[in-house]
């Protein structure tokens, strides 16, 4: 904890320093190079803004979550918070988007649904997280209605435990979150790929961390282990969106199955 506090003290200075360098680089770049899409190769997770309700009940949660992703994996991340509406042209720069909330929200317009449908059908990924912590919440109802309008022909289904999402990085055998409203993830499958994951357990509630490094929310039920499982689930979801069914390749199976056997026997 002391180390984290020390880092926090250094952070404003580092931020200013980094900002200065950025200004210089940008100025030089403006002269010599075309305008670049900054950090294009890093993983950014924009948060979707929508009308009504509260689209951002866990402020800066994605930044702290991406920090966990960067810490645990080789994925390069961009922790700059990004918020956007689905109709913004920049949407297609970010194949992974996050949508959270804790209240009901206005139905998406048909144009928003069309854009989102197109986005998900051709490579995008959407993680929807119910931050309310309640079963059958207002957000849950709004989200399910939106999903049913988004893919009227494809129902939201439970994601089986042998799906790549549960093996993409960590071996996971339970769906954790800040609360335990649902023991499973639900998803939409398009052409063999999960394009949308819905979690009713408030994943973001376990990821959110303040600038002091403290977790913002207590875990209901399972304590710190539950938080770690929830972070692992988040990392796996991100990893799945980037590697798809890579872990289903035959070369991985023997080792994964052996570890799963031992893992389940513990």
């Amino acid at each position: 904890m002391k180390t984290e506090a020390f880092l926090f003290k250094l952070k404003p200075m580092r931020t200013i320093f980094a900002g200065l360098i950025l200004v210089i680089i940008t100025a030089v770049g403006w002269v010599s190079l075309p305008l670049a899409w900054a950090n294009y190769y890093k993983l950014s997770i924009p948060q979707i803004k929508y009308r009504g309700g509260n689209f951002n009940p866990r402020p800066d949660v994605l930044s702290s979550f991406l920090g966990q992703v960067a810490k645990r994996t080789s994925i390069e991340v961009n922790r700059e918070p990004i918020q956007m509406q689905v109709t913004e042209p920049a949407l297609y720069q970010y194949p992974f988007i996050y949508m959270g909330g804790d209240d009901s929200f206005e139905p998406f317009s048909s144009n928003e649904l069309r854009v989102l449908r197109n986005y998900l059908s051709y490579g995008g990924f959407l993680l929807i997280d119910d931050n309310s912590g309640k079963k059958d919440s207002a957000f849950d109802r709004s989200a399910r209605e939106m999903i049913s309008r988004l893919f009227p022909q494809v129902p939201l289904q439970k994601i089986p435990r042998d799906h790549s999402i549960f093996r993409s990085f960590y071996l996971i055998n339970q769906v954790a979150g800040r609360v335990n409203n649902s023991p499973f993830l639900e998803g939409i499958h398009i052409k063999g790929r999960v394009v949308l994951v819905y979690c009713a357990n408030d994943l973001a509630g376990t990821w959110a961390r303040n600038n002091l490094g403290h977790w913002d929310y207590d875990i209901i039920g399972g304590g710190e282990k539950q938080r770690q499982l929830s972070i692992r689930l988040g990392v796996n979801i991100v990893m799945y969106s980037l590697t798809l069914d890579y872990k289903k390749d035959m070369v991985h199976l023997p080792i994964i199955l052996e570890r799963l056997r031992k893992y389940h026997s513990q």
Partner: protein, 765 residues
Amino acid sequence: MNLLMEIFGLDPSEYKQREFQWAFEEAGVFFPLMVFLVPLALWFFWTSLSRIKSPVTKSFLFILRAAAFALIVFLLLKPELEFKKKNVLTNTIAVLMDDSKSMSIKTFPDEIPRIDFVKTTLDKNRKFFEALEKSFKVDLYFFSDRVDPVPFSEVLNQYEPKSLNTDFGSSLSQLKERMEGKPLQGVMMFTDGADLTEGTEEVSKDLLNLLVDLKSPVHTFQAGSNDRFKDLAIGNLEAADFGFVYQPVRLSVNVDASSMGNKNVSLVLREGENILVTKILELKERISRYKADLEFVPRKKGKRIYTLTLPLFSGESIATNNRRDFQIKIIRDRTRVLHLNGRPSWDSRFLREVLANNPKVDLLSFFILRTLGDDVVSPTSELSLIPFPTNLLFSDYLNSFDLIIFQNFRYDPFIDLRYLSNIKNFVEAGGAFLMIGGDLSFQQGGYERTPIEEVLPVRLQKRSPSFMDVEFKLEMEKQILHHPILRLEKDDDMNREIWQGLPAMNGVNAGLIPESGAHVLAGYRKDSSMIPVLVAGSMGKGRAVALATDSSWNWNFRRVGEGGSGRYYQKFWNNIIAWLTGDTETQLIQLETDKERYQEGDGALIKFKVLKDDYNPDPGRNVTLILQSAAGESREIPLQTDKNGEGSYEFIPAQEGFYKARIRVERGKEKTCRELSFGVFSETAEFDKPLVKDSLLKKIAEVTGGQYQVLNAGTNLNGYLFENPEVFEKTKTRVISLWDNWWAYGFIVGLLFIDWWVRRRSGLS
């Protein structure tokens, strides 16, 4: 009758034959009707004369009326006289001599070829045929599955066992057609009876019907016999025309054995000098046919020539059927791709999706999911990560891949430096290598002065920064758009428009200097210089591509966001894979034959196309075609390409076997070649069923009323006699109607007039 003919203007000396016939066609109705009408008419005639007292007059009139009635009935039947003019024909005897390849089989113990029995018989019975020709027209034919006429004087000169298929049904059918209108009085058939279409037990109904239709005796003369016939033969071979490399290829072979005794023989499958598989067959005296299934795994692509052999034992009737050469085209079932990713990224994600969804690609991916500096906050047992199997991939199984992709991949610490040499050797030997850019690639991947740099079509120049986070549009020379990698559309203009319309890219690896001989397909124009982004080149027998950016996924997902689709992204990557793995259409020299296999005597057409390095046609280019015959003799033929860079050469292969054709193109000091092989096959079916079929020959003779005889050195044909009836040929006919003329009607009217006159004289009205 002569008077009648003269009346009708016919010459009695010309029309020597005549025939009376009825033209009335409704006899089925007419005659029953007459049964009723005739008594009625006679009754009527008699009763109507009741007032005539004189019995003489009454009888006369009755006879008169009956005669008139009979005449009318006669005319109603439409009588006709046909006068025929005919010639006397010479009867024909057909002599059939089997010239199929099975006639070359020797008969033991004197080892006389079957055909020699026929030749000797024909020669020694020359007088018989000369005598026969005095009374008959003797037609001689060579036959197999067709009949070819041959003059008697040429028989011995031209008679060779060369035809590929014996089919009595087909040949006798052709004979029947040729004999149409000729009085065939007999057939003499010299053959071994080894008909390939007939079974061993019974003669087919079709053949029996055909023999009956000939309406002539067929004398069968058996050439050779099965006494002490000894042979070991590779019979029917079932094998697919193509197989897959590293996948088992299965063959099914029939082996026929006659009088081979009880012994073990080895059936050996070779490719060149290498024995691929051996199978021991346990021969039993009482079993004549064996089936053997063989399986082997081809290791190399291309048209491969294989040889099946059986040992040749002394005293075998046929030596050639102990060996069978055949060709199988070995192809990749799928292109095996090893895809190494330095870290998960959107670029690798979209490329993996394209590769994984390509049915022609067998993909093995590895992502570096964690580095040594990452803290997974978990024991290894709770991770799905597996150790990177470096040794397996880059030593044991490296050659099983067609393409290795390093996508933003830094080799250290995952691959030992010594394995990079293996990759270089892999490419030099014909493999493909692709490096995709990013901040872990090229110089930043530590590849300077490593074997990988020698494989790449670019040199890595020290530069800082070597990776630039810029947005740019790809540019390319118009001329290079013909390159297979850049062919997103076949139409040149549309292709150029597509490239211009693709979204911009982000990030480029700088400091890449194209190797001489490499082609900069696309680049990023910065100020006045062009930074190479897409470079392709050859290395030894293999090919390599450098793509100095990690943002090609912009052409997929970002283009979808702009209202387009990822179609051209997929096409681009499929093009790269096709070019790297040497797809036929990506070769600068394209060489093909018009057929996969030729029959002996067929003309072989070799076609080629020569392209320049930029894949534009190379017109007027001097090339050398090197033809290597089955016997190993080579000859060089100078040729030149036409305006489309194409050319061809046609020739008739002199013998059966496998030929090699190689096109050599010299551009300055550089020589490039392309080679293919093709087979010229001689039909061997005649030796698949080589046994003499005496039962068939006996049956033919029996069915047609002919005689069956086994030929020997002293066969005398003098006892064969043929009927020689006088047969006329109808050349001209004249039909005279006996009812449809004035004579007939006048006669009836005359009878009725006499009746009327007599009745008047008798006082009746």
